[in-house]
């Protein structure tokens, strides 16, 4: 059995969990390719114009997987707790995919994480395994293996980042961006590469000890409830002293970022910050110049 996983949105947060889980269950995992012009184009054709770039990209990836696998994984992640909610784009991902491609006869494998309905990850995965007609024991085993893998990978990423924070050469630039944007080969990756080419050390805010970050975020912004933005805000607070500048990288028109980035700019006064906005038409055009001048400026101010 082949499970298709769109390489967008939550893939970048849950890739180890998902891949290990399905492989341990004896399924084949089929990933959509890296985001490219064609995927963005297809995604945009299937999207409402005003949708954010990240969600257009997502639909492009889903479309690519149609007819290539038995199931396409489209989870619905809404809330982790009363104070930790997720952007509504991820509440609706399942229903949007279902309604967008309803004439294409696709089989979606979904799971639901929503504290309001007592739907936690463990129960969600157990149900998903049952739907794939696996035995309870194998599902449990696969889930715990997957959790192990996820934990290990997250720890390794943190370690690598910590190494960069202490050993990396200056200037160190903290990139604040959702995991699905910073890791996307069309949105975030080129920025990271460009920064390295310019001699800077990119530090990724999304790679952070999540619980500590959320705690920190509460202190800075008590009514902030978007969990992924809490992590990013907390990361700023945790990494701030060790970096020379901050880049806020957003996909247009991200709802949570439209408010949170403004809060960040207004509350974090002791570091240079620029904000970069990526949209479907322009992509990264014009950004290189801004990155260069930002690095110059930081270099200048630290002397």
């Amino acid at each position: 059995m082949t499970i298709g996983i769109p390489k967008a949105f939550l893939y970048y947060r849950y890739r180890w969990l998902w891949e290990t889980f399905f492989e341990e269950l004896g399924c084949t995992v089929l990933l959509s390719p890296d985001t490219n012009r064609q995927i963005i184009k297809t995604g945009a054709t299937h999207s409402i114009d005003e949708s954010c770039l990240s969600s257009k990209i997502y639909l492009g990836h889903v479309e690519w997987l149609i007819d290539k696998c038995d199931y396409i994984l489209v989870p619905r992640v809404a809330t982790y707790s009363r104070e930790q909610i997720v952007c509504s784009k991820l509440w609706s991902a399942y229903d949007v995919v279902q309604n967008t491609f309803r004439s294409r006869d696709i089989s979606i494998l979904d799971y639901n994480i929503d504290y309001k309905q007592n739907k936690n990850e463990f129960l969600a995965f157990l149900r998903m395994g049952r739907r794939l007609k696996k035995r309870r024991f194998s599902i449990l085993r696969a889930y715990f293996m997957a959790k192990q893998a996820e934990k290990m990978m997250n720890e390794r990423r943190l370690e690598e980042q910590n190494k960069l924070l202490t050993l990396g050469k200056a200037p160190k630039i903290l990139i604040v961006s959702h995991s699905y944007n910073i890791n996307d080969p069309y949105i975030g990756r080129p920025i990271v590469e460009r920064l390295s080419l310019l001699g800077a050390t990119p530090i990724i805010a999304e790679i952070v000890e999540r619980n500590t970050a959320v705690q920190r975020a509460r202190e800075i912004s008590p009514t902030l409830q978007w969990n992924y933005n809490q992590e990013l805000l907390g990361a700023i607070s945790l990494y701030k002293e060790q970096v020379d500048g901050i880049i806020l990288l957003t996909a247009f028109p991200c709802g949570p970022d439209s408010l949170v980035n403004e809060v960040i700019i207004r509350k974090i006064k002791d570091k240079p910050i620029i904000s970069l906005l990526v949209d479907e038409q322009e992509g990264l055009a014009g950004m290189e110049t801004r990155l260069e001048s930002f690095i110059d400026m930081i270099g200048g101010s630290s002397i």
Binding site: I48, A78, Y94, Q225
Partner: protein, 353 residues
């Protein structure tokens, strides 16, 4: 203490009623929203934040100019829940001094939560005052929603122009001056009767349009360029289910999800499922068309649009999608409305209904 709050539709009346009682303070109602409010708010807001944020900020700025020293933000189900913190920060950065009461996260339906919150702001608040003000305000909002529903449907057809407006204004000012729920009931019965008795001249062929969409932009007439008024001028019977009663007081997502299960499996956020449910119910009742209203970038409503397109296709009901921002052109909206009107009129004639 001089308290102010953001406006939305006519709800400033119950807000004023409630706050003047629980805070024991002077209430400053921000001026009716105008172009100036919008420009003031827009000037100091982040670029692609949704329009309600800008309107709210404009309200605050105008209220502060009038001497308000305490501002209230209500919060809401979506981005609204985070408005308050940024509003406060922006106003402080502009140099204003004020107290900010952020009600985001308060559970309106839980009296204990309301009590705890307001007790922290007004030590002298007695349980009796709250126990009187809360149900009266609640009843007032429900009455307003009832009356407005009737007026919205019929205002295009009143025989004597301006009757509905006159009576409704009179009702609002009478309602604001009652002392308790009993008095309010009496006021309601009087005006309800009068409003129901307003003479109407209904055309033979009634065009019916349902309005669906995002909470604020649907309910604040300035934010939607007085859409309902325009429709009334075109002699259209207008209905909407979205109001404070249906979204703040009785918001039963599981029940709604059951009704829309053919299209939606999960809650898609804020009032997205309400939008789908309303669309289906209007379609079932053979409405001639739907108008979907939202501010630019409203996430749950953008997702609802994907589903609305399928409903429009399946139920053969035309839907006009209108997006409002502070930059939206008046003429653009008017032209689209006229074209929509022509289209549903032609369809209606073809059907021979």
């Amino acid at each position: 203490m001089k308290i102010s709050f953001p406006r939305m539709g006519n709800y400033d009346v119950p807000f004023r009623y409630f706050f003047s009682r629980v805070f024991d303070a002077e209430i400053i109602t921000p001026p009716t929203i105008t172009k100036k409010t919008m420009e003031l708010g827009g000037m100091h807001s982040p670029d692609f934040v949704c329009a309600p944020f800008k309107f709210n900020l404009g309200n605050y700025l105008e209220a502060l100019e009038q001497g308000a020293d305490t501002l209230i933000q209500f919060g809401g189900l979506c981005r609204l829940g985070y408005y308050g913190e940024l509003h406060e920060q922006i106003l402080r950065d502009l140099g204003y001094e004020f107290d900010f009461i952020n009600l985001a996260g308060m559970r309106m339906r839980n009296p204990k939560s309301v009590w705890d919150k307001f007790k922290t702001y007004n030590e002298n608040l007695s349980l009796e005052t709250l126990a009187n003000a809360l149900p009266t305000t609640y009843a007032m909002v429900k009455q307003m929603d009832e009356l407005e529903k009737h007026i919205r449907k019929n205002i295009g057809f009143e025989t004597k122009r301006g009757e509905f407006d006159r009576l409704y204004k009179a009702y609002l000012s009478a309602a604001e001056n009652v002392n308790n729920k009993k008095e309010l009931k009496r006021v309601y019965h009087q005006y309800h009767k009068e409003i129901k008795n307003v003479k109407l001249t209904l055309p033979k062929n009634l065009l019916k349009v349902g309005i669906i969409g995002e909470f604020y932009t649907v309910m604040e007439p300035f934010a939607n360029h007085f859409l309902e008024k325009e429709l009334a001028k075109m002699q259209i019977y207008v209905t909407r289910n979205l109001n404070a009663s249906t979204t703040v007081f009785h918001h039963d997502i599981p029940k709604l999800l059951k009704r829309v299960q053919h299209y939606v499996k999960y809650d898609i956020g804020a009032t997205g499922v309400d939008t789908i449910n309303s669309a289906l119910s209007f379609a079932r009742r053979n409405y001639d068309g739907l108008i979907h209203v939202k501010s630019f970038g409203c996430m749950p409503e953008i997702d609802a649009m994907t589903i609305l397109q399928n409903i429009s296709h399946d139920c053969k009901i035309p839907i006009l999608y209108l997006t409002f921002d502070t930059q939206t052109s008046e003429t653009g909206i008017k032209t689209r409305l006229e074209a929509f009107h022509d289209m549903i009129l032609m369809r209606n004639n073809l059907d021979g209904r």
